[in-house]
């Protein structure tokens, strides 16, 4: 791998915004239903558990990166050699493209259900991806800037949840631990989709100045995400009765329905429009990871890889038309992400450690 020049690298603290903004995406709008299906009002425990697991995985990822001295592609080459490694690289690129599709399709669905029923998926995705192309083309520094604004600007939204307190009954979460450990663990697994995306660090690592220092910020990002998710989960549990929550697909958006301000009758429209800012860095980072992987494994230039992935994502997006398919898409990317993070990454660490020792002996 060529060394990355310093002027294209980012400061370690920006990792906080990169990791945080790729985690918070379309999933936040409706994860409450998914966790309460199995563990009911105890779902917030699953949110915290899943959050703790992300810390462990982040730790493992940093270990892999330090050992392989580059990014995921170098780790793959170290562990499997060039050819088999490339197969895994391709899978990784597909996985990130799948994330792009999931995020965008879920957001477009929200737009279609809540705001514009006749919005064309293709048109919106086309213009959105042109914008994404423009940003990603600017390199990691531009993406980090987008991530910064995508985190800071919409952060005021968290205050709007205070409007629900008037109707909230926080005793709903009592009694704590009313479900079996098995139920809570199933919810933890289902919750992992909402947390996904932090594995982007595997590709971003070489672009960070004094990369080792950034680990602290990555963990802070995970901690912030966990806190926000836990807060939203508890507020929604207090606001909705359980059966109501099971019927509500986008609980976070439904909560905005109660917000009352003198100058705005219905807040969810502002919330959804603002969410575009949250989605943008999300898509940018994921698509950058996918195209960067392709660039590293083939002789293609980064820009060309990016165009190919944009076009492929756009084509796939238009084929997904109804709620059932969107749901399926979410489930499948959640599943793949779960196995990728929870099984593949620890296995990779073991392999990298072994192979490094073997190579050193040679």
């Amino acid at each position: 791998m060529q060394a990355i020049p310093d002027r294209r690298k980012i400061s370690p603290f920006l990792v906080f915004f990169l990791i945080h903004s790729i985690q918070v995406g379309a999933g936040v709008l409706g994860f409450q239903r998914i966790i309460s299906m199995n563990s009911g009002y105890d779902g917030w425990i699953s949110v915290i558990l899943a959050g703790i697991v992300t810390h462990v995985l982040m730790f493992i990822m940093y270990l892999i990166l330090e050992k392989s001295g580059g990014d995921l592609v170098s780790a793959h080459t170290l562990a499997f050699g060039k050819w088999i490694g490339n197969i895994f690289n391709l899978l990784f690129a597909i996985y990130f493209s799948l994330l792009v599709i999931t995020i965008m399709r879920t957001y477009i669905e929200v737009l279609q259900v809540w705001m514009y029923p006749r919005l064309s998926t293709f048109m919106f995705a086309l213009f959105f991806l042109i914008l994404v192309y423009y940003i990603v083309n600017g390199g990691v520094r531009t993406i980090a800037g987008t991530a910064f604004f995508g985190t800071v600007l919409p952060s005021y939204l968290i205050l709007t949840f205070a409007f629900t307190f008037k109707y909230a009954d926080f005793r709903n979460v009592l009694p704590v631990f009313d479900h079996t450990i098995k139920d809570i663990l199933i919810s933890t697994k289902n919750m992992s989709l909402t947390y996904l995306g932090y594995e982007a660090i595997l590709m971003l690592y070489p672009y960070i100045k004094e990369a080792k220092k950034s680990q602290k910020y990555a963990h802070w990002a995970l901690f912030t995400t966990t806190t926000i998710y836990t807060l939203i989960a508890i507020i929604s549990f207090a606001f909705f009765s359980q059966k109501q929550l099971e019927k509500t697909v986008w609980a976070t958006l439904s909560m905005w329905k109660i917000v009352e301000m003198p100058f705005v009758e219905r807040f969810e429209y502002i919330g959804i429009a603002n969410w575009c800012l949250v989605i943008l860095p999300n898509v940018c980072i994921a698509i950058w990871c996918a195209s960067r992987t392709i660039k590293r494994m083939t002789p293609l230039r980064h820009r060309h890889a990016l165009i190919i992935i944009c076009i492929l994502c756009l084509c796939t997006l238009t084929f997904i038309t109804d709620r059932k398919q969107v749901n399926f898409l979410n489930t499948i990317s959640g599943q793949i992400g779960f196995y990728f993070n929870f099984f593949y990454i620890p296995a990779l660490l073991v392999l990298v450690t072994i192979m490094k020792k073997v190579r050193q002996k040679q």
Binding site: L119, F127, L131, R171, P175, K247
Partner: protein, 365 residues
């Protein structure tokens, strides 16, 4: 390259703005109210209310009604007769005829909840008689929808009406160990409406009505914080046999606390109600500190008696607007709603413990 991207971006924003269908306010009928009535087996009549803004800045109430089997179908039929498209985005009130309320209203609740354009703060009310007739009246100057919604809002904020809206109705309906309630309206004349009580529901069917004079006590039971006023009859006036001494007390702050002995058999429930209020009117001779104490005592007794009868009535009907089942659930692991409904709730013992504190008695003594 940079310039090219910039140009592309500008073109994007130019075209994107024309991407979806425009909706111009002047070319729409914005529904502010909706009424549903029972007509026959599987048939309801829906009446839509929308303001028509006239050139002299006054507002005319436009209504359209149609009969169909479901609320969506009503909407479709109405659309066919409306000159401009009907939109539900700023729906303020939904009125439901008493007959329909007794048959079940969750279909209406579901259709409102399902529609993303309908807010959660809208008021759902039951109407004595025909809801369609009530909505066709002419109230106030700002249109019927605003009139009814203002009427309910200020009664919730300052008077005896318990807190209510679509979200709370659905919350109570779906919550285990709690049943829903809605306010009742009645048309007095073509120009006026009154709130005449609270309708209590079993699941989604109206089973009981709380008359307006008992609403103060009902609000004390169901709302975390309640205001409102109550007139206390203090007994005969000395000397004049016909007239009675009355004191009108306005509650400023009141709190309730439900204390449940979860494990005891039968389950014991104590409602602790605290009221702090002021005397607004006194028809006796002189309101001495002793008399104030008497008013406090009498009011405590009133609250305890009325609330206890109410709780027992709810128990007999098998409804639970106060949410006692829900409170029991918070303290018990593995709460079984069926067991609670069938064997525990009917045997529950109630106690009401009221405490009234009169802070002021006005500007005269």
């Amino acid at each position: 390259m940079k310039q090219l991207s910039l140009i592309i971006l500008l073109i994007c924003s130019l075209f994107l703005s024309g991407c979806v269908e425009k909706e111009i306010l002047d070319d729409l009928y914005v529904e502010t109210g909706k009424a549903y009535d029972y007509v026959g087996e599987n048939k309801i009549r829906g009446t839509a209310l929308f303001p028509i803004y006239l050139s002299d800045k006054s507002i005319q109430n436009g209504t359209l009604s149609a009969e169909a089997s479901s609320t969506r179908e009503v909407l479709e039929k109405l659309e066919r007769r409306a000159q401009q498209p009907l939109v539900r985005g700023s729906l303020d009130v939904v009125l439901i005829g008493e007959k329909l309320a007794k048959k079940g209203i969750i279909d209406i609740g579901d259709s409102l909840q399902r529609d993303a354009s309908v807010g959660a703060r809208l008021y759902v009310t039951v109407v004595e008689g025909e809801a369609g007739e009530l909505i066709k009246g002419n109230y106030g100057l700002r249109g019927n929808g605003t009139y009814i919604s203002n009427l309910i809002t200020h009664n919730i904020k300052r008077r005896e009406l318990p807190e209510t809206n679509l979200h709370l109705f659905l919350f109570n309906y779906f919550q285990e160990g709690q049943t829903a309630y809605l306010p009742i309206l009645k048309q007095l004349s073509n120009e006026s409406i009154a709130i005449t009580g609270v309708a209590l529901f079993d699941k989604d069917k109206m089973v009981k009505k709380i008359p307006s004079e008992d609403m103060f006590f009902f609000k004390l039971l169901v709302d975390k914080l309640a205001e409102g006023s109550h007139v206390i009859k203090m007994g005969k006036k000395p000397g004049a046999a016909e007239e009675t001494v009355e004191a009108s007390v306005t509650s400023l702050i009141s709190k309730h606390k439900i204390i449940i002995k979860h494990k005891s058999d039968p389950v014991e429930v104590t409602m602790r109600i605290k009221v702090r209020g002021i005397v607004r009117e006194y028809t006796g001779k002189k309101l001495t500190p002793d008399k104030v104490g008497e008013v406090e005592k009498k009011m405590e007794k009133d609250i305890e008696e009325k609330c206890l009868t109410m709780l027992k009535e709810f128990q007999e009907l098998g409804i639970d607007p106060v949410g006692i089942g829900q409170n029991q659930k918070h303290g018990v692991r593995g709460f079984d709603i069926k067991e609670w409904k069938e064997s525990i709730y009917p045997r529950t013992q109630f106690n009401v413990d009221a405490k009234v504190q009169i802070l002021e008695a006005g500007t005269v003594e």
